[in-house]
């Protein structure tokens, strides 16, 4: 449990690693926070359509101060631009796109991910309320759910677990997890190690993880 949290990949590198999984033609929904960094990654000529819950299909980079259009935000409230071929729909149509399985991947932050594919990102322990936003719809319906999170809490507790301790956002849906220590795939009883960040040993990763790691 002593793996220093500054070891391995930084936030942009975690996002880069997941973004390199995006395939040509994918519709991608990026959650608030670290996942938004995925759109900075150079993945060559692949054609990616970014979808935001508020009905913006095909948005582009965040605009610098002074160039914003105040009528246009992405799901994180950032003033973004539009790419050629963009389209706007209302919230019901936007979530119709989500629920009907048109989102190839949603990338979200989380508090916990479990080896069985459950994850938790809407409510912290002991809280009366929470913030769900579009996370439950996206988690239940996207073709793939990728999660980015620090491998451990600030106290050094693992966030990759056998089962979630917090109320879950959806069950059995996570397909890939990037942490500062590497890339992991929920595999039922444990996490398959897809890749380790430079300088991270299998043993160190295992020690920081609350479920068995399975060698690649």
């Amino acid at each position: 449990m002593n793996a220093p949290s500054n070891k391995g990949w930084d936030r942009q590198q975690m996002a880069d690693r997941l973004a390199r999984e995006f395939q040509d033609g994918w519709i991608v929904n990026l959650g608030v926070g670290i996942p938004t960094l995925c759109s900075n990654t150079d993945i060559g000529e692949r054609d990616i359509t970014y979808h935001a819950e508020n009905g913006v299909i095909g948005y582009g980079p965040v605009l610098p101060p002074g160039e914003e259009d105040l009528h246009l935000v992405n799901a994180g409230g950032q003033n973004v631009s539009l790419n050629p071929g963009a389209a706007i729909v209302h919230h019901a149509d936007s979530f119709g796109i989500i629920r009907s399985g048109r989102i190839d991947v949603t990338v979200m932050g989380a508090y916990e991910v479990a080896a069985n594919g459950d994850f938790a990102n809407w409510k912290i322990g002991g809280a009366k309320g929470g913030g769900i936003g579009g996370a439950m719809d996206l988690a239940a319906c996207a073709k793939r759910v990728f999660i980015i999170l620090e491998h451990g809490t600030r106290k050094g507790e693992p966030r990759l677990l056998r089962t979630c301790t917090l109320p879950v956002t959806a069950r059995g849906v996570v397909t890939l997890v990037a942490t500062n220590l590497g890339l992991f795939a929920p595999a039922g009883d444990g996490f398959a190690v897809r890749e380790l960040a430079p300088g991270v040993s299998f043993e160190a990763a295992q020690q920081a993880t609350g479920a068995p790691l399975l060698p690649a």
Binding site: N54, L70, L72, F95, R99, G129, A170
Partner: protein, 246 residues
Amino acid sequence: MSRRGKVFGSFAEAMVDIPDGATIAFGGFAGPGTPYNLTRALLKHGAKRLTCIANTTGGAHQPRMPDIGMLVENGQVAKVVCAFTAATRPTDVLPFTPYYERGEVEAELVPQGTLAERLRAAGAGIPAFYTPTAVGTELAEGRETRAINGRDYLLEYALPCDYALIRAWRADAAGNLQFRLSQRNFCPLMAMAARTTLVEVEEPILPAGTLDPDQIHTPGIFVHRLVPIPPAPEGLWATRRQERAK
């Protein structure tokens, strides 16, 4: 109602009949589409025991604009139906959250897509539907699910409202609306779900017949009262969003 007489001279006049106990939906998502002027007028109007439906009760960012949180602070709200009773980042605190935690206001927490679909259902005469969202979570505990083609779905009911307060870009005198870019969000759905829809309009209201019938986002059938937004400082207009200082 007649297509005539939809244009009102003031926000106060447009909402004079809102009674205590009304259910009111508020458009907007992270700024665009939020009815700042109507909300400010509702603060002054003073109706109490309101049920407020919206994506959020207002964000944790600055500058703070009139929001449901202010109606709560003003003692006007009995219940909110929304997708966030707390901020996404645990380090942010929504003004609403402490009122909820102290039990002074009720809340029904609804996933955002379910919220949109429940409003749309109310507006489309669909009393209930099934959705895959929230199955297996705390929100589904004790509620009815149904297996359809081998997958479990949760039963959700329509969410009608007495009034919708929304903001649009352009309107004609018949009440036809156009929204600009992400201003659209929940606004068309709330107009469908409401018995009476109040709209603050950014551009001068156009004569009926001016807007292209193919390019109407919300038909006037769903729209009852239009109020043009005066120039600042009298009218409230969007400003650059600033994150709350950490």
